[in-house]
Symmetry: D2
Subunit: 189 residues, 4 copies
């Protein structure tokens, strides 16, 4: 039995990011998903349409597009910056959502996607996650609707080593991964 | 009589951007505003909270924060990428919206801001502009509500040298700059 | 072969509504869907949680909930009022989205839904449709992502008898109904 | 010294509504505002553009438009239904936002507005309030940006008689009323 391959992307670059920690927690669950955490976000340059073609695309971007193409689904953990998606995460999505040549294919088209998010505030990443859902309407990705994983007051949900210890959040993530696996399974039928 | 200083930011990096062209058009109007177009967006690195403090902030970011502090208002021209704000524009906003030390001040707080946008599609940058307005709720910037300048089918609005020739758009931008000037004037009272 | 049953709801009550006209056009297509247009919206009273239970629910509401339960999917045509969903449409959704007793079931849960919209303005019902998509995230309905049917400048798309004559819109609606039928088919598997 | 007149509208019709209770609390503060709570929402019929003119408008609607015209500002308390504004509240806004004759004036244009909201859930009325802000972009109302009053887990904030006893919420409402009064004062200059 082969397990589905998932590329996981955290919208936060800071070392002790709770969003990255959520992804690490997801890796450890017995979900039947093979989750790899993307660590190249820092190398993705600002989106420039003049470079967005097979000849001129920066190497880090070409690599990210290739990886999105290869995996069965995406798992995104997004903090909320200014009531919306971090620019750094949105910038990566901008680079992998296009096909101006109409010959390469759209990496995000019909791609199964699961969203979660953590934030230290009372309202977690509620607004960022909704903003992200709107993005995936355009790309026509196949986004898991529920459960929504909104780890508000996220600092209360991890131990000192950054391990997720909150049972509610653990249960939600398990549900999310299960829903993602089902979406992938259906898409493959 | 001194004129108000405006920093103008285009969310598109491509050479022939219609959004940058809107800003150039705005510069030429007899608005009483001194509009300078920011050209450093390409140098703003991905937002990293670990570096977002006076000691570690990248030079391009420190410079952008300084300029936002100095000017009387902002003029933003945003394309629409994936039904939302370009990541590259949002990333710059993320860097200039913070003050983790609580000693530097929030560059965007109460800052007068005017928004416009161009896109070649039928629905212009409608969705991106609304997404951007939501961002400025958090920053508590003082955003001009109307007129909304939505240059849809933007390729029909410029001549071959990239000059804005569409009378409707010209009138809207004039109205926007006037509204921005009024906001600044009121804020200074 | 039995065809799927669809309840179609127009968010506009005016007699010559382009949104209702879109639904009438959809009825005539050879889509294999049995589309019935709901005409009871005018009788739905303002939502009141105190009445939202099997004992006290107004008759028109109970009937709408029953019909939503019975059909295989929903087709909604929404105008845009004030950059959002018409209150009258949202009010009906509010009444059919609940189950405070936890015994009746949630009529909108997993229900296949297709959205379209017409408006005489340049930006059609773009904003209303996105606002409506956000509503269906909460209800966890199974919403068709594409095609998006946005009949902007809608007065140009109908003849004097109110028949849809615009080929682009016709093609989009056909695509939407096909996508809705596929969603229903998958859900039944 | 005359105090400013405010019309307060609750988006919830249920008897023990926390949103209505927030408005009652606001009435008691020493804000210098004369706040009257609107109790006619139940009588506002579904919006019908065919009736939306001085000759045919339902009496309850005509009365609401008149009252909005007369007051200096609005105070709205909105619950969140299905991740958005209650239909019943939006329907009232739809009726008071128009002037198809171009002779009556737009009741909401430039009208100072303050928003708050309560909900028993963890995320309060966060999404409803943002949805409402988008509505007031179209109407070009003069909406208070901060403080945002989001009474999440609202059942913990009132005593058994429905009095607001939570100090944080009390402070936020006082700040909101102060900001509303300032907006009105500036508008009158």
């Amino acid at each position: 039995m082969t397990s589905y391959k998932i590329l996981a992307i955290s919208g936060s670059l800071r070392a002790d990011s709770h969003n990255t920690a959520l992804l690490r927690a997801a890796q450890k669950f017995n979900s039947g998903l093979d989750i790899e955490i993307y660590d190249g976000l820092r190398d993705i340059p600002p989106y420039d349409m003049d470079l967005d073609n097979p000849q001129n695309r920066p190497a880090a971007v070409a690599e990210l597009r290739r990886r999105v193409d290869e995996v069965d689904g995406l798992l995104i953990a997004t903090p909320e910056f200014n009531y919306s998606i971090p620019g750094v995460l949105k910038n990566a999505i901008d680079w992998v959502s296009t096909d101006w040549t109409k010959s390469e294919g759209l990496p995000l088209l019909h791609k199964p996607v699961a969203i979660m998010g953590a934030a230290p505030t009372n309202f977690g990443s509620v607004r960022a996650q909704l903003a992200l859902r709107q993005v995936f309407v355009w790309t026509e990705s196949d986004v898991v609707v529920k459960p929504e994983v909104i780890a508000f007051r996220s600092h209360e949900r991890f131990d000192e080593e950054g391990n997720l210890i909150d049972e509610t959040t653990i249960g939600l993530i398990e549900g999310l991964l299960e829903a993602l696996a089902k979406k992938i399974e259906r898409a493959k039928q």
